[in-house]
């Protein structure tokens, strides 16, 4: 890819508004559409244990009515022009994601600002939402992949906030009242720490002007600081747990351990190594052993989850309940080989070529570009990150991958979670 097509200091427009909101913008006039996406500091980290799911409940409720407009009016405005706007919750941050035809950008930003600044949490709507959330948790309880993943987090991050699911549990959701939502919003919502990316058929200066008009006047006193993360305790032995779900044809399996933080120097070696372990080609070495050679699973892959705090490095597979042990043994054997032998020069070269080659594809759509801009902001990677990307990938050595693998993966101390019959 020609470097000029990559986002960099010359073509990313970045401005910090007087109230603290950072706006990053980039134009793309190839399609008459625009994406607005961002994050703010009101994640599930603030949830009390007994009301877990509160931050998520609040984001779900933001569009259910504002001081100016009802739920139905908000969505009538949005949907009538084919626009969309939604909110989501992570552990550290919550976020939003909107898109529209560029002619409707002012409307999109207006609705975003109302939802963030003036949600009304109307009682009847909150009641409806309550039932909807409880139903989604009932569906989650029957989903073998979701439950295996939750069980895994509970083992790996025992006693740490990362062990908690952001969407809570039925008993914690039942405790949440409208008053809780109002208080959470008052304490945690504000412009400090908010980042907004606008990408699409609009000039960056104009995008910033529109964001300024919609959100520039937002001022909040005493917006709370996020609590410090407690230190993470590493597993001292193999820990396995089977979460039973009756009547299912397939069990899901998650095996893994801790992984680097996004800003660790280990991040890139871990990513390149993980690609070899369980992604590259048809799901890497894991896919080769579990799917191609043994025919045990339709999917078997590894993934890294690296964010603001300590991450996880996990292998997931969906297998017949009778084959859980077999698949699990094969996966542990592969992990052992990975930390003993590392990767070959050819594998590493392939993995690097894959990372460099696929970059333009990930930046092709407005959404992909906006995510890249947010990634830069979230992890302080520098506006020239994507210009340096090729070098960052190329400088990783086999030793780096091996050392990183050994630093994180101990095949005798893994978390093994199964959900199924």
């Amino acid at each position: 890819m020609v470097k000029s097509a990559l986002p960099g200091p010359d073509n990313i427009y970045r401005e910090v508004l007087p109230n603290g909101i950072t706006v990053v913008a980039r134009s793309n006039f190839n399609s008459p559409s625009v994406v607005v996406t961002g994050f703010f500091e009101a994640g599930a980290i603030f949830d009390p244990d007994e009301k877990l799911g509160l931050a998520d409940f609040v984001t779900s409720a933001l569009m259910r009515g504002t001081r100016k407009r009802s739920f139905d009016t908000i969505y009538h405005k949005l949907e009538s022009v084919g626009a969309s706007l939604g909110f989501n919750t992570g552990v550290h941050k919550s976020g939003f994601n909107g898109r529209s035809l560029v002619e409707d950008l002012p409307l999109l930003l207006e609705l975003l600002s109302e939802a963030l600044m003036q949600p009304a949490f109307p009682k009847p709507e909150i009641e409806k939402l309550h039932a909807q959330i409880l139903t989604s948790l009932a569906i989650r309880a029957e989903d073998t992949a979701d439950m295996a993943s939750m069980t895994f987090d509970a083992i790996l991050f025992k006693g740490h906030p990362y062990s908690r699911p952001e969407d809570g549990y039925p008993e914690t959701i039942k405790r949440i009242t409208r008053d809780d939502l109002v208080k959470f919003h008052r304490a945690h919502y504000g412009p400090r720490g908010m980042v907004i990316a606008v990408v699409g058929a609009v000039k960056p200066e104009e995008a910033v002007r529109q964001v300024q008009r919609a959100l520039g006047g937002w001022q909040v006193k005493g917006q709370r600081e996020a609590p410090e993360l407690p230190p993470l305790k590493r597993l001292k032995k193999m820990v396995s747990k089977h979460h039973r779900i009756r009547g299912k044809s397939q069990s899901d399996l998650v095996i893994g351990t801790n992984g680097p933080m996004r800003r660790d120097s280990d991040f890139m070696p871990a990513m390149l190594g993980n690609n070899i372990l369980g992604q590259f080609g048809m799901m890497g070495r894991i896919g080769d052993v579990v799917r191609e050679k043994s025919g045990l699973a339709y999917y078997a892959y590894s993934s890294l989850s690296a964010g603001i705090g300590p991450g996880s490095w996990e292998v997931s597979a969906g297998v017949n309940p009778q084959n859980v042990k077999k698949a699990s043994d094969l996966i542990v054997t592969e992990l052992t080989r990975f930390v003993q032998e590392g990767v070959t020069e050819d594998e590493l070269a392939d993995s690097k070529a894959n990372f460099i080659g696929r970059l333009p594809l990930s930046l092709e759509s407005n959404g992909g570009m906006a995510n890249a801009l947010l990634n830069i902001e979230r992890h302080n990677l520098g506006l020239d990150y994507y210009l340096r990307y090729e070098d960052l990938v190329n400088e990783v050595t086999r030793e780096d991958v091996l050392n990183t693998a050994r630093r994180f993966i101990d095949p005798d101390r893994l978390a093994i979670a199964v959900a199924g019959p």
């Binding site: 898109r99 779900i245 009756r246 009547g247 959404g367």
Partner: protein, 427 residues
């Protein structure tokens, strides 16, 4: 921005569509075969999908372990999918690497090995894929509805196939199916992206035109007769959540009624997104959301149809509110359908549906893979012109058309109503 398009048919019958789009250094290539679950008989259900899997198992020139790494190494993304009417393979690559994808596709159009051991190992992979599907209540319900709605037409089974057939089909069954349907005269090759039209066409001719045409595959011609009376069914399974699906007969994509019905779908259940890549929008002000979710009879409702060669189904899926009965939701749905039949919709509602469709098209056009997808996808059930004129055809829809199709297609006696009855689950 000017886009250039050519459509040609090579001497061996391979149809080629090329669209030059110079917005990013990317090319997306799609090879479509006119074969899907509609071409399968009892005993060999799921064979088209299984053949698709075998296409990743290698040829002499590109053995399996070479093939899967080659595309990834070049930074490409690739996949394949099998559906009722078609099977498609795509690669989206950095523009200067696309030749690899073309060579690979030309090769595996004829030279896939279907090695006996690979067939055996893929059998359990596909069985595992089906077991994963069976974990989902809506798969179980959908399968029961489909086999009830289609007694005669081969749309009656799921694309993945019946478990019994997955256990018994042989290597020779698979290979015969491959050789019968994977011929250039049964395929469409579509590319979009950063290339020069004449030289791309020349390269395609060089690689593909030497592949000989085969006999025109015979098709199963067993049209489904009219349904004379509502059918209700239930499926029991694990879980705590009740789902209801209501399916009506929907015309083929080339039928003129497809367009008024698309507008009707948009205002009834929210606009359906026909893009493979691009994303849709919410449906919280659709008539059914207001009548069912706002009124707390359901916690979600969705509706939609597919573009198919033969008449298929329009499906409304309701997730029933935990404190309500499925009959109440069904009664509210019927009230809304009756309203569509008795009262003309407003001009504003039609204008709104068209604007929604226009926005969804714009989102899809951000992405070269999606643009290439449409070039070939539309050919599977119509012509590319179907896609090019889609918005114009929607714009011509009138309130009278909508009322007419509501009466004609949403008849209680030609529907299937299925309920997933949860039996509890998690311990």
């Amino acid at each position: 921005m000017e886009n250039h398009l050519i459509q040609v048919t090579l001497s061996n019958g391979l149809k080629v569509l090329l669209k030059e789009i110079r917005t990013a250094p990317i090319i997306s290539s799609w090879l479509w075969y006119r074969v899907g679950s509609r071409d399968e008989v009892q005993g060999r259900t799921g064979i088209s999908h299984w053949v698709e899997h075998m296409q990743f198992k290698g040829t002499e020139q590109f053995p399996a372990n070479v093939l899967d790494k080659a595309i990834s190494r070049e930074g490409g993304t690739w996949n394949a999918m099998t559906y009722l009417d078609w099977t498609a393979y795509f690669e989206t690559m950095p523009a200067d690497k696309i030749d690899l994808a073309l060579r690979l596709e030309a090769d595996r159009m004829v030279n896939s090995r279907f090695n006996e051991e690979e067939v055996a190992s893929e059998r359990t992979v596909i069985i595992s894929e089906r077991e994963g599907n069976e974990n989902e209540p809506l798969f179980l319900l959908g399968e029961a509805i489909q086999q009830t709605a289609f007694r005669i037409h081969p749309y009656h089974h799921e694309v993945i196939g019946d478990m019994t057939d997955l256990r018994t089909m042989t290597r020779d069954d698979l290979y015969t199916h491959y050789r019968t349907f994977y011929v250039p005269n049964n395929a469409v090759l579509a590319l979009a992206g950063d290339f020069d039209l004449p030289s791309m066409l020349a390269r395609i001719q060089e690689l593909f035109e030497k592949i000989p045409a085969g006999p025109e595959p015979t098709r199963i011609a067993r049209p489904e007769p009219a349904q004379n009376g509502e059918v209700r069914l239930s499926v029991e399974g694990p879980g705590a959540t009740t789902y209801v699906q209501v399916c009506y007969r929907f015309p083929s994509a080339t039928h003129p009624d497809f367009f008024p019905l698309s507008v009707l779908d948009s205002l009834l259940a929210g606009p359906s997104n026909l893009n493979m890549f691009g994303g849709g929008i919410s449906n919280k002000t659709s008539r059914l959301y207001r009548a069912l979710v706002d009124k707390q009879l359901a916690v979600s409702v969705h509706g939609g149809a597919q573009a198919t060669i033969d008449p298929f189904l329009y499906t409304i899926t309701m997730t029933i509110h935990p404190r309500r009965r499925p009959e109440d939701a069904l009664a509210a749905l019927d009230t809304e359908l009756l309203r569509l039949k008795e009262e003309k919709v407003t001009k504003e509602e039609i204008v709104r549906a068209i604007k929604q469709a226009r926005a969804i098209f714009a989102y899809g056009s951000e992405n070269i893979t999606n643009q290439a997808f449409w070039l070939g996808y539309a050919e599977m059930f119509a012509k590319y012109e179907w896609f090019l004129t889609y918005l114009d055809k929607l714009s011509m829809v009138t309130a009278k058309d909508i009322q007419r199709v509501a009466n004609e297609y949403f008849k209680p006696q030609s529907r299937v109503v299925g309920t997933y009855v949860p039996q509890g689950g998690e311990e």
